[in-house]
């Protein structure tokens, strides 16, 4: 049977790992390849790098970081942030990423997802969705969660699946940075609406939160940052807890 996945996420700016609190107030926590390798040792099922730097120069730095990481990491590596074109995706894959996540660019040009899936295979195409509650629904935001769109998050997830997304990385803007737990309602709504794997993201502050999102939703994976970066828990501790509570993990 398929195990649920634990994915530490490293926010990377100018080649260094940082963690955004509500996408602001950044604090340096280390060198990405080293941290990735440490997480693999702890039992991480995958590692995600999110490039939050803006300049073209920083993008080249990121590709170097990906190359260095791929040389010594033997679990899948997903790279996201600032992917605007098929060329960007190809560069990341050639540098050694196994999957690439696309966020804002998919909103400007949804057809990009069809093209990427066609060229690279849908298993490498992750669509990242930043969603914020509006009334009974959730609205898709772009540009690192700063700009609202007209799109409904659940419908958007379905469209992205139909266009070729192999996976949905779903971040709750309401929960992100709060450490109060994943957005269960949002995660369940999206996971129920699509038939591709959904990665829950945003709001993880404790082991119990990860258990809760797996127990209450169909999420295939849980992404977390600060509980690992600040050494609150190791990945192994999280897995031991989940196993003891009846969740299948590797």
């Amino acid at each position: 049977m398929l195990a649920r996945r634990i994915i530490p996420c490293l926010d990377v700016k100018d080649g260094k790992v940082v963690k955004g609190i509500k996408f602001q107030n950044l604090r340096d926590v280390g060198h990405p390849p080293d941290l990735a390798q440490e997480y693999e040792k702890q039992g991480a099922d995958e590692v995600t790098f999110l490039d939050i730097s803006a300049s073209l120069e920083a993008r080249k730095t990121m590709l170097k970081i990906v190359e260095e990481t791929a040389e010594k990491l033997f679990v899948p590596l997903t790279v996201g942030g600032g992917i605007r074109s098929k060329g960007d995706m190809r560069d990341a894959l050639n540098a050694g990423a196994d999957k690439v996540s696309v966020n804002s660019a998919a909103v400007f040009d949804p057809d990009l997802i069809n093209q990427c899936a066609e060229d690279f295979g849908r298993q490498c195409v992750v669509v990242a969705i930043d969603a914020k509650r509006t009334g009974d629904n959730w609205t898709v935001y772009t540009h690192g969660g700063t700009r609202p769109t007209e799109l409904d998050a659940v419908q958007w997830a379905q469209e992205m699946q139909d266009r070729g997304a192999g996976e949905i990385l779903l971040t709750s803007m309401d929960a992100d940075g709060t450490k109060d737990g994943y957005d269960i309602e949002l995660t369940a709504a999206v996971a129920d609406a699509v038939s591709v794997p959904v990665i829950a993201s945003g709001g993880c502050g404790s082991i119990e939160h990860i258990h809760e999102v797996f127990r209450s939703t169909g999420a295939s994976a849980a992404l977390a940052a600060s509980i690992f970066h600040y050494q609150q828990h190791t990945v192994q501790e999280v897995k031991d807890y989940l196993r003891d509570h009846g969740i299948l993990v590797r």
């Binding site: 195990a3 791929a70 040389e71 295979g121 298993q123 192999g166 996976e167 038939s195 295939s220």
Partner: protein
């Protein structure tokens, strides 16, 4: 002398991880872009990147020669798409496969596709020796169907499908050992040892 592995480069995707992983397991890896060079290989690895047709476009001219080589006992490991091309063909593409394994590649019939993540491989084979944790990493929407005698490992995901094929000295894994951390590296180490013993 370490084992010389010819790693087929179909011109798509990156080979960093599989190359590095095989090197860590003691192999001397040669990346081969001209598929005719595979015919001199003492051990072949078909990596798990790319799409069926594009991969077969490169391999079709040497299809019969490669099959003869494998029949002759040259050790081979095909990973994911690299395993799928060893069958007779795929629902993903139009081109025929190498046809070394009987059967074809079919779409995964499961509630959630792609089958993405860590799943258990059940079965007996020398490549599983000393591997306690049999969870390996999968990322695929198609799987091979072949005759029972060629299946040495299988995996459950709504259905049960073949996840490790073997015929003679040729293996095909649906999972990615190079992405499967300690268990995957142990599997590759076992393969390298197995291949060395055939030289």
């Amino acid at each position: 002398m370490s084992l010389k592995v010819s790693l087929a480069d179909y011109g798509v995707g990156n080979l960093h991880s599989i190359r590095k992983a095989l090197e860590l397991c003691g192999a001397d890896v040669h990346v081969v872009e001209d598929m005719r060079q595979l015919l001199d290989a003492s051990c072949i690895v078909f990596p798990g990147v790319g799409a069926f047709d594009r991969t077969m476009d490169r391999l079709l001219p040497v299809r019969d020669d490669i099959c003869r080589l494998l029949q002759g006992g040259v050790p081979c490991l095909g990973i994911c798409i690299g395993m799928q091309i060893l069958t007779e063909g795929s629902a993903e593409g139009m081109e025929p496969g190498l046809g070394f394994f009987p059967g074809r590649v079919v779409p995964m019939r499961a509630a959630c596709v792609p089958h993405m993540g860590w799943n258990e491989v059940i079965g007996k084979d020398e490549l599983f020796q000393d591997i306690d944790n049999r969870y390996f990493y999968f990322a695929h929407s198609f799987h091979a169907e072949t005759t029972t005698e060629n299946v040495v490992g299988s995996t459950q995901y709504d259905i049960t499908f073949p996840s490790l094929l073997r015929r003679g000295n040729t293996y095909g894994s649906q999972f990615h050992p190079e992405k499967s951390s300690r268990s995957g590296l142990a599997f590759l180490r076992n393969f390298v040892r197995f291949a060395e013993a055939q030289q």
